[in-house]
Amino acid sequence: MMLTAWVKQASQHMNRQVDSAPLAVLRILFGVMMLLGTLRFMAYGWVNELYVLPKYHFTYFGFEWVKPFGETGMWLVFVAMALASAFIALGFLFRVSALVFFLLFTYVELIDVTNYLNHYYFISLCSFLLLLSPAGKTFSIDGKLFPNHNISTVPFWSIGMFRLQLGILYVFAGIAKLNYDWLILAQPLSIWFVSFREVTLVGWLFQLKETAYVFSWAGALYDLTIPFFLLWAPTRIWAYITVVGFHFITWLMFPIGMFPWVMMVFTWVFFPIAFHRKLVDAISARFLSVRNKVRAPRLSDEYSLKTSVSASLHPFILSLLVVFFAVQLFLPLRHFLYRGNLFWTEQGYRFSWRVMLMEKNGFAQFKVRDPETGKQWEIHNAHYLTPQQEKMMSTQPDLLLQFAHILDNEFQSIGVANPIVTADVQVSLNGRRSRPFINPNVDLSSIKDSWRPKTWILPYSSEL
């Protein structure tokens, strides 16, 4: 009885109608940030560098069929993504734009694993959530074109799911920092801080071991708690100042592109509805004539249950969201299914909000042998791979395996019927001396990738 009552109450809470302003603001911020991000990507020449010039691409397990288009095709994809972003911001043909953006962005990310960033994964997830939300029906061009569909209130779940998404990101990022290297050795920050020893005025701080400890512990604490402090009204303003400070500092220190700015604006979703309403009204007053302005009924605070309750969330959308978040809770924990040190083997490492946790460097010397003639070749990785691909490949077992298969194909095509591909790989982790990473005698060309444990990874015998 208790449970049913609770579910009913939760369901009412999630389905009650609230002012649509927060969702409108989020949609506009998302569209604008993605437009800037896409333009930046094109301006830096990364379309060619990452998707046109490489001779080979490292694919995701199960997505080997995803291939890049040629140069024209890839540029068209990015132009389309920029347009879709602009349309999302304007709320023009919203569902189509959001769908196009989600598909194209995810497509681009799936082309090459070596470009993986948690930040990109986050954008894919957010664009999917946005697609499910009614964000296009309010304060939008669509709303003006189709007045029948124009709305001024939205069900609370369509805002709450973004808070949950951000909460998952932060909390798992925080949990990931609760490890020996981060907390006890202050690594990898200690290594990275070596770069700041001569910075004007603050350089001396970075010569102190203590500074790396302060940053490590503060970073872990920040990630673990910030969503809760943002949720709670009394701490919200201080929490947001912390958000800005934290992400601004990381932006200053590390080459992490747009991510800090994305987080600084996406966290607005934690702000009270009144804030968003004022913002929307201000934009209306500034840019739109009063006549066209969508007047929203003033609803009371979002946490009050007095507001009207609309029809329940469609069961299909509900199940989709349940699966969506359940998968996200599972992925960061899946590494428990594997033995060995996660940082070393990286089995179950991606899609888990493990951000800037490792300074990992590898050196991989591949060798190809023709068992029939006894001829042996040493491979020059750069002959096949870009520097970024080589760097990523050298420390990640599944990518080492993929490269072995690339070589296998290459040598078969020049007449070596049955190439034996081995690799001597030395990897160093978080400032430790490098050590052998995989079994140098295993013929990698004979191994198929799977989710099963990779027994050819040599054990990492150390603390952590």
């Binding site: 290594i191 990275w192 070596v194 770069s195 700041f196 020893r197 001569e198 910075v199 350089g203 001396w204 010569q207 102190l208 071991k209 203590e210 300074e359 460097n361 590898g362 050196f363 010397q365 023709d370 003639t373 001829k375 042996q376 070749w377 040493e378 020059h380 990785n381 750069a382 002959h383 520097p387 030395q426 160093s428 400032g431 430790r432 001396r433 490098s434």
Partner: protein
Amino acid sequence: MLAIGSSACDTDGPEEVNCDFDLQAMRTNYAEEIIVPKLEQWYTSTQLLAAMAAQYASAPSEPNLVELRIMWYASYRSYQAVCAFGFGPGIINGLAFREYVNTFPTNVALIDGYLTSGAVDAASNPNSTVGYPALEYLIFGPIGTSQADVVAAYTSGGDAASRAAYVVSLANRINTIAQQQVDGWETYKSTFINSTGTAEGSTLSLLVNELNYDLEILKSFKFKIPLGKFNGGVALPNQVEGYYSGATASLAVDQFNSIRAIYFGVGLDNSDGLGLHDYLLCLKAGEDADGLLADAIADKFQDMEDAMLLLQDPMAEQLVTDKPSVDAAYLQMQMMTPLLKREMASALGVQISYQDNDGD
């Protein structure tokens, strides 16, 4: 500010000691004791080389040829000590100066064509037909050519005039490039010394990247390719540096000594100043049960030296008669690569940004 860092040092045992290191002093040492003196020494050698080339070209004779060869060898050796400085003034028209003076193996067919056609302006010919390797081919001739036969080509050969002109032009071109380095460093030196941080283009990044690239050149071009590592294991003796003179191993040892001196911060006059080794020691980089990364690198330099002592000239012949010794030297260089390119670069906060060149 460094003083503040050291005074705030805490007392949680040796691991916690904060490292106080004067990076400005290290950069000054590199500029004033290593790079500039070595470039000046190289420049002086190229002046003499140009003079000997002119002397021989105007009066081809065996004694003049011997003098030219000696100077060619001496200057080539000086060059081995500066080829890691391909940044700042070392970039000429977008290419490191090494490309203009030491692209090998030299393209014999093209050079023979130029001699016939008279296209003997070194400044306008492609890199594979100029520099020390091209000059070497001209003054040593194909393997087995006697001194007398070399001289005869300059006195009675059909292309004697172009031959002499090309020798002069090649030597002058090397001299001009060396002069550009010395002149360039007069203004670049202060930029180099005052550039802080580890970002791409900073002094530390340039030093570390170029040191690694220099090791890459030694390893790949001077050993890996001739050993046939890209070729199914079939040795390619004619790909070595110094093929016509037979000076291959000794030039490789010179370059090795230069790389080691740069790492340790040892100056031209053998003064041991602040270098990358000292910085790594101070940072206690890569500390584990076996010691520090800096110690491991020092040990590996020793291993490299020991292995290189077994190299013999002409190494092109040793590749055939005693390949395992050449292979052993290569293996040590290969083992050094992750230490310098991955572990050291990472410990110093430097990204390796150069595009590898695989020599094809």
